[in-house]
Symmetry: C2
Subunit: 241 residues, 2 copies
């Protein structure tokens, strides 16, 4: 009887893990496609990113329902309970990552026809590439229960924040240089902020992997602070520079 | 024995509900204070909002842990299970609302010393007042299991989105009028976006109340779409208007 229960639990867990793996694949692809759509000004691809989000939402609801049923039916303890709780948390973060990638794609549609010097997009692109790498690494860390790899992701979050702070200043400078840049750059500010928040969710996932493997909550202060919420650029009113 | 279990469940539920009530009170106050801090340029109050967020985070972790233990120990069914799942979801939304209010307060600190015509703040303030009303209403709807009131909140979300779209255009216009407004208005764009997202979380809570009372997921398309992600303001390069 006990063996039967254990086996039922393992099957439940396998289903949860495979749903999370599917969610991870979709969210990675959404982010990668959202960046390509921006760089190539590809509206069809942007629309595809927007459409992909439904599947992610459905999977998240499925993981949540199935996890709760598993807790009620199997009453797992210790690492088994952490496994199920981690699945709920990670599916929540991946669903949010999908929302944010979808919002990036919407911004791409908003600016598709406008005036847009390619150099302005470069900063967003490098930041997004770094975040995509973080997302891949943290999903591998989860799949392999690799604590060290998760901690690497967690530590690197400040690089993303530094890139975002410099992007914020750069975009404000472009706005001041030429009012034709303002609308375009305002959308890119939000695009960049979305990417930075995707980075925050990869850090959340790294924290969940830490909790899953060790049973402890990471107590150290997260190495992140969005510097731009305190950033200010002083301008000379006459020149706008 | 059965009565004992039921009574244990009711006690668990009571603890969950009182934690949610506390979280609701804190998040309402954080949003109200964040708006006052912006309008009065009150840096001390802004800092107080930032500090209040820790308590909200702690309560959210506590609700999540306690809810999971309740599901494992009591194996609730039907409406009882929905009650516990709703507590998890609502505490998640309230925790996010706290994060967003905290971010608003950080933006207030960022722009505290700069050049800022008071009329520019007015649009943000009206929007925040409406969102605060929505938040109060949805917390009452949850406390009283009032489906109609929850649906009212749910339907009004498009008003917030309309206000945000007009705020977005207004702020871009101020930026184009005078480059000295650019940095200040960029922060206000994010401030407004945070408030709009607080509105989204009140809508989430309304959907959770619907699920709690009826057992059904709201399938109608949410009456919301952030129009600004597709907004564009055409400017004449010479005048910047």
């Amino acid at each position: 009887m006990s063996a039967h229960i254990v086996s039922g639990f393992d099957e439940d867990l396998e289903v949860l893990r495979s749903s999370i793996a599917e969610m991870g694949g979709i969210s990675e692809k959404m982010l990668a496609d959202a960046v390509t759509a921006l760089v190539r000004r590809d509206e069809v691809l942007a629309q595809r990113v927007i459409n992909a989000d439904n599947r992610l939402d459905a999977l998240q609801r499925q993981v949540e329902e199935q996890a709760i049923m598993t807790i009620a039916r199997r009453q797992p303890l210790a690492v088994d309970l952490r496994d199920v709780v981690s699945a709920i948390r990670i599916s929540g973060d991946l669903e949010r990552i999908g929302d944010l990638a979808k919002n990036c794609a919407k911004r791409t549609l908003a600016i598709a026809g406008g005036f847009q010097p390619p150099r302005i997009v470069t900063g967003v692109q490098s930041m997004a590439d770094l975040v995509l790498e973080q997302l891949k690494d943290v999903l591998d860390a989860y799949a392999q229960r690799d604590l060290e790899r998760a901690l690497d992701v967690w530590r690197r979050d400040d690089q993303i924040d530094a890139l975002y702070t410099s992007l914020f200043r750069e975009l404000l400078t472009y706005m001041m240089e030429d009012p034709r840049n303002i609308s375009f750059c305002a959308h890119l500010l939000f695009y960049g902020k979305n990417v930075e928040r995707i980075g925050d969710h990869t850090t959340n996932i790294a924290e969940t992997v830490h909790y899953l493997v060790t049973g402890q909550t990471l107590t150290a202060e997260r190495p992140k602070d969005d510097g731009t919420s305190q950033a200010r650029i002083e301008v000379d009113a006459a020149t706008g520079k």
